[in-house]
């Protein structure tokens, strides 16, 4: 299976978990397939299967405090703290996005592309620029998964799940609604292209 690897740079980004206690929103340190799907659907109008990994040591977690405005009452709601990833040392956050290549999705689509990833785009978060594009066909290995991916999309990425750790990712059905779909999370034991493996393993299957 061939993948398009996008090396991207991001100013700062929020890929949020569920809001906690109505006032706090932690941030993920991986780019799930749901986020990639949403971003490209928005920007290119295409259903694109991809997942992403932030490059270690290029970011740190910080807090962003803001108030959501109630448009009807014209009032601000309770202050809200969201975690976000901020670049380390006046540079950019680096990430790798892997996209499944097919007849419709080719490298050309992404050349010099700038798009937005994650939440709070209106506050300037998520601006992402494609720096480099490669086409790769990685080997299949057994190991621990390093991304989050909808369970029913694993075969699209050539991932065979051996021992899953499940969780849920939001699956939008239109602009305002959606549901939570079962997904395979980090550290699941899988057989997969080596780009999705954080550590090769040798367990019986």
């Amino acid at each position: 299976m061939n993948f398009i690897k996008l090396n991207v740079e991001i100013d700062s980004v929020i890929i949020g978990e569920r809001v906690k206690g109505g006032i706090y929103r932690p941030c993920l340190e991986t780019i799930p397939s749901s986020t990639i799907r949403g971003a490209f659907k928005n920007f290119l109008g295409l259903e694109i299967n991809g997942v992403g990994i932030f490059v270690k040591y290029t970011y740190r977690i910080k807090d962003f405090v803001y108030s959501v405005k109630d448009k009807f009452l014209e009032t601000a709601k309770m202050p809200f703290v969201a975690e976000y990833l901020s670049p380390k040392r006046n540079s950019k956050i680096k990430a790798e996005i892997y996209i499944v290549k097919n007849n419709v999705i080719s490298s050309k689509l992404f050349k010099d592309l700038e798009f937005y990833l994650g939440a709070l785009k209106s506050k300037g978060f998520g601006k992402t620029k494609v720096i480099e594009i490669e086409e790769i066909s990685p080997d299949i290995k057994q190991g621990f998964l390093n991304v989050r991916i909808y369970e029913d999309e694993c075969d699209k990425f050539n991932i065979t799940v051996i021992s899953p750790i499940y969780g849920y990712l939001f699956y939008p059905t239109d602009m305002v609604s959606g549901f939570y779909k079962r997904a395979v999370f980090e550290n699941s034991l899988v057989k997969a292209p080596e780009i999705f493996i954080k550590e090769e393993t040798f367990y019986d299957e």
């Binding site: 021992s163 939001f170 367990y203």
Partner: protein
């Protein structure tokens, strides 16, 4: 009432000090009494079933048919299955628990050998507290429970009168923990308590799952495989080479289980989840007592026969939203041991075909499994804020809307509710958590054992290092870890609070430099008492993490920090810095840091931050070595980056410095 066969009594002879009697007169050999001449000494021979455990060291039993073998003829038929299973359990407990297999131990120098035999140690040697026995002896304690002719009579009475394992373990606990399982170096590093406890457990597991047929001839069956000799059941006890590698008929499983949770703590009461986990782990251990080799609050190691369903065993944990990560090893009894998983994986990783060939021919498997609760394919919004595993229900509290599932809400509402004292409001607080990393523990024990072997100057050192099994040591280590935390709270009770009264690993206190210092000092004091020979660096299995924040800071963030402690002592000040220190560094910093150095430390930290180069600030230190001698000394002796020195100073000394970024 029929007396019970108490397997734990099989090594009671190890509690007898033979040197207290005339060995020639009593003809005492080894630590068992199967050949003892009761009549000559007018001592009553025990008649209980447990007496027959004294025959467990008769080596010819291993190869002979338990119906026709000469050695088995001394044993009444009704006790042969018990002795058969006890021998298997003793071998297994030794290979699972004993640090080493039966290998010839030869000092490299013959003269030295003579010297050594005179000075063989008598008490257990703990790798992390080498003077443990010496200190106990100075308090008037002694390893032997029986040390006179009268005591010898008492020992035989005990074999007859003890009615349960618990009775024996509690009555002789004091001696069992001081006596090594094997007195000879380097096997003297595990306690007899752990060994006899494991033998008893394994014996009962085998007995429970073994079908004993006694129609025409005795036949023991496990998992549909029947055997008549111990050797048939076990197979060979080697995993490489050409000898002693034959396949055994009986296999068993050794499973390492980590109890994990997907939850994020939102409110303070959500940490009740840890109480729940403790309770579930304790209930599990009570229910499956004999299957559990040892456990902590989040880790359980199990000895299981084939066929026992793990998911069924952990049902209560799964029903309460926890998930279990298991590393399961299935192997012939002859080679099953606590670290076989590591050996198998390493052999596969390094393509060691001589080992993998033998392991495969003996159908050895290592699985990594995740046991999860039943999960829906999809959840219509909203999902639970806390576990993100179940549909959430709307809950309102203090004008804040949350979506929480019934299970997480039940956890939040159950048990005591911890509240910060009124006087802490608007102040900074410090959450702290002790951590015992079982993976690091295995690695640390291996390293400590290798150092011990090197210190003994033994010929076959490499083989011994290679064959080390750490389970029994782990069990002893965990016991001391629990004692250490209890001792910590005895000293720190007035200063810090336990948010969960029966969960000792977690605490919180009001921030002040003085309080942080006291907590660190108390930790070091108890650590040095229980683990004086465990270095206290990044390899240390034990760590303490402190997280400083405003009282309103989200509790989940403290726990996120506690999840993966980097070093021995980890300190974080919310959004400002985090640093890890080892024991030596803390001691140096505590005794050498001067308040007048603060300005200079800021300067050094800033140089380091800008240049990320050691050379720049070393030049600066050298330049100011006369006026800043304490910093110059600190850096030249322990090479701590100035940033870490500064952070330690800010947190323990300078109240107003804490808020600076």
């Amino acid at each position: 009432m029929k007396k019970e066969f108490v397997a734990e009594l099989h090594d009671i002879g190890k509690l007898f000090d033979k040197d207290s009697l005339d060995p020639k007169r009593y003809k005492l050999k080894g630590h068992t009494f199967e050949e003892f001449d009761f009549e000559s000494f007018n001592i009553k021979k025990p008649t209980s079933p447990s007496w027959w455990a004294q025959y467990h060291h008769k080596e010819t039993l291993d190869d002979e048919d338990l119906n026709t073998g000469n050695s088995w003829r001394d044993i009444p038929q009704e006790y042969r299955p018990d002795l058969f299973l006890l021998i298997l359990a003793d071998h297994l407990a030794s290979s699972i628990s004993r640090a080493l297999p039966r290998l010839p131990l030869r000092p490299s120098n013959k003269d030295e050998s003579k010297d050594k035999s005179k000075g063989e140690p008598e008490g257990v040697l703990k790798l992390w507290n080498r003077k443990f026995y010496e200190n106990e002896k100075n308090k008037g304690k002694y390893w032997a429970a029986f040390k006179s002719e009268e005591d010898l009579k008492k020992l035989f009475e005990i074999i007859d009168t003890i009615t349960s394992p618990e009775e024996f373990l509690s009555q002789y606990n004091e001696y069992l923990i001081l006596t090594p399982e094997d007195k000879y170096k380097p096997r003297n590093i595990t306690s007899l308590y752990t060994h006899v406890e494991l033998v008893g457990k394994i014996y009962r597991v085998l007995k429970r799952h073994c079908e004993i047929k006694a129609e025409n001839a005795l036949e023991l069956k496990l998992n549909e495989e029947s055997v008549k000799t111990i050797k048939d059941a076990e197979g060979g006890n080697r995993t490489e080479g050409n000898q002693n590698i034959e396949k055994g008929k009986w296999q068993a499983r050794f499973v390492k289980c980590y109890i994990k949770y997907p939850h994020s703590f939102v409110r303070l009461q959500d940490i009740n989840l840890l109480v729940k986990r403790n309770k579930l782990a304790e209930d599990f251990v009570a229910k499956y007592k004999d299957y559990v080799m040892f456990h902590t609050s989040d880790f359980i190691s199990l000895f299981l026969p084939p066929g026992m369903e793990l998911k069924e065993m952990f049902k209560d944990c799964l029903d309460n939203g926890f998930f279990i990560e298991c590393i399961e090893t299935i192997a012939d009894l002859g080679i099953l041991r606590s670290n076989l998983d590591i050996k198998v994986i390493r052999a596969r990783e390094n393509n060691k075909s001589d080992i993998t060939k033998v392991l495969n021919s003996r159908n050895t498997k290592v699985y990594r499994k995740i046991l999860l609760p039943e999960m829906l394919d999809k959840i219509v919004s909203p999902i639970c804020d806390i576990c993100q595993f179940n549909p959430g229900k709307e809950r309102m509290k203090e004008n804040i809307k949350e979506w929480i599932c019934d299970k997480c809400y039940e956890v939040r509402e159950c048990g005591e509710s911890f509240k910060y004292p009124e006087e802490w409001q608007e102040h900074k607080i410090v959450w702290f958590k002790f951590n015992l990393d079982t993976e690091k523990l295995e690695n640390w024990l291996q390293k400590a054992f290798e150092e011990y072997i090197d210190s003994l100057n033994i010929n076959n050192a490499q083989t011994l290092k290679h064959e080390f099994r750490s389970l029994a040591c782990q069990s002893d280590f965990v016991r001391d870890y629990k004692y250490m935390i209890e001792a910590f709270w005895d000293k720190a009770n007035g200063l810090a609070k336990k948010p969960i009264s029966n969960y000792d690993e977690l605490g919180v206190f009001l921030y002040s430099g003085e309080n942080v210092k006291k907590i660190i000092e108390t930790f070091l004091e108890v650590y040095k008492k229980y683990f004086p020979d465990c270095e206290g660096d990044y390899l240390s299995p034990i760590s303490l993490s402190l997280s400083i924040s405003n009282v309103k800071y989200p509790i989940r963030e403290h726990f996120r920090y506690f999840e993966s402690p980097e070093g021995f002592l980890n300190i974080r000040n919310q959004n400002i810095f985090h640093s890890s220190y080892d024991k030596n560094e803390i001691e140096w910093l505590k005794s050498n840091l001067q308040p007048k150095s603060l300005h200079f430390l800021y300067k050094l930290a800033s140089i380091y931050e800008k240049t990320k180069s050691d050379i720049s600030f070393i030049v600066e230190i050298m330049d100011k070595r006369k006026s800043q001698q304490d910093i110059s000394d600190l850096y030249s002796k322990i090479k701590i980056p100035p940033e870490k020195i500064l952070n330690f100073y800010r947190i323990t000394e300078a109240e107003n410095e804490l808020h600076k970024t």
